[in-house]
């Protein structure tokens, strides 16, 4: 097997693809968005529980290839406890990582440990056709942040 392919399909990715983490709708989630890649049919729904501009909880549902499932799964792990600003910054760094651009490389708002966790997806860089798979969940997360919060239940 070639080294690029091995880098793309690392054990961590295969593992998250097979058994995605936070694969549910968290209790109290108040922001939701659906993401769909009409070219390949991948679908994800991202649920966020935002409170005071902070991601208290995050989960997702959907189906797709190993890359999109793993990327979304890893995203949910690193986003918990982040502010909305930090979430945006992380996505920009991640996006740059996949597309090979360096625009936001020095972004101070990004936690180094979190970013290192996402580095397992760096192999996608060699596969421009697959960048959309790796970013579907992230775009959906951004859309969810932009939605209006659910009305607070008085139950």
């Amino acid at each position: 097997m070639s080294s690029e392919l091995r880098e793309l399909y690392q054990e961590v990715i295969l593992d998250h693809g097979r058994t995605p983490r936070n694969f549910h709708k968290p209790e109290g989630a108040n922001h939701h968005a659906n993401g769909h890649n009409p070219l390949c049919g991948d679908r994800v729904t991202v649920h966020l529980k935002l409170k005071d501009d902070k991601v208290e909880d995050v989960g997702f549902e959907g189906s797709g290839c190993a890359i999109s499932m793993a990327s979304t799964s890893l995203m949910t792990e690193v986003l918990k406890g982040k502010t909305v600003t930090e979430a945006h910054a992380l996505f920009h760094r991640f996006h740059d990582l996949l597309t090979g651009s360096e625009d936001s490389a020095g972004d101070a708002a990004v936690d180094t440990d979190d970013f290192e966790r996402l580095m397992v997806l760096a192999g996608v860089r060699e596969y421009p056709m697959r960048v959309k798979c790796a970013t579907l969940g992230w775009h959906t997360m951004e859309a969810a942040i932009g939605t209006e919060a659910d009305k607070v239940s008085t139950e």
Partner: protein
Amino acid sequence: MNTLAPLAEARRESVFVPAFDAEAARRDFPILATPVIHGRAFLDSAASAQKPMQVIDAVRRCYEAEYANIHRGVYELSALATKNFEVARDKVRTFLNARESSEIIFVRGGTEGVNLVAYAYGDKFIGEGDEIILTYLEHHSNIVPWQLLAERVGAKIRPVPIDDAGELIMEEYEKLLGPRTKMVAVTHASNALGTLPPVKQMIEMAHAQGAVVLIDGAQGAPHLKVDVQDLDCDFYVFSGHKVYGPSGIGVLYGKKAHLLAMPPWQGGGDMIESVSFEKTTFAPPPNKFEAGTPHISGATGLAAAIDYVTKLGLDNIAAHEHALLEEATQRMRQIPGVRIYGEAKNKAAILSFMIDGAHPHDVGTIFDHHGVAVRAGHHCAQPVMERYGIPGTVRASFALYNTRHDVNLLIEAVDKVKEIFK
């Protein structure tokens, strides 16, 4: 034209007597010798076929020596271009065995052909409460134009279901047919599963109810001998790029009576008889439906492609592709964890499958690494994917230039996927 010459030569060279010499044919396709494809298996011809030198040369000759606008100039070059364009039309007529070349309309591709019929025939002859029968096998291009029509006029879409093997359930078709059925639009060959529906029988049944029938020949024309008179279909569409011709050119065949009764679709030059601000009268078919300057070199290229496959023999090509399909299918069946979708009795050379635990897109990427180009996804046929409850499949499609070597690579690539997705 001596079509048997290359065959006779192959027979002399080998004890094994192939009906068709794919290795020789491969040499006609310059792209197969380029580094991107050389030594690799191109198994995505159902999406678009590669082009033989004969087609490339014809397009080149058109621009180099025989190009001017058609149907206009009185000068010699325009007359020559016009003649070539009409010769191309007549080649298509022969290819489809249509009665008259005025029944052959050049369009951009199969999709435009379906849209033309949905607008020009549909808007006039299909109304509120009428029914349009489609099938679960259809490509989006033979679904969406009818849905748009149904919305415009208030008609209803009635799809014919398929069984697990991917065969149309004919009893259901019979039940759906009725006095309200105005149109039946069905594929000649399914692009996602390969199924060949019994179109001749379906056309007969539709006609008995007074409905007209459009056959989507996008996957049919490259693999099957088409005889529109024998089929008795009302409309037939296909795309040039899938029969080894250029992209951007396709054909709509329509029975003359329909074409005469239909209003024009697009207005412009070339489709009129006379124009004044009070009233415009239209040219007879086919010009009525060919507004504007057409894809002149595309028609020339398509004619060269038709010459090419005719010379090789459509039956020979079909037999060759079928042998590859059979071999690939048999070998795939023996691999644990591989599921084949579409096991109809009569199939075009399309093999759709899934590998347990691996999403089609991941399979496509790994295949590519192993030198195998396939289509992965829903193949613009989402209803059939939903029918099986799957997001998509991996599709290998065989063309005249594929060989057993390609089948070997395909099988090896499956092993690679299984290595990664254990």
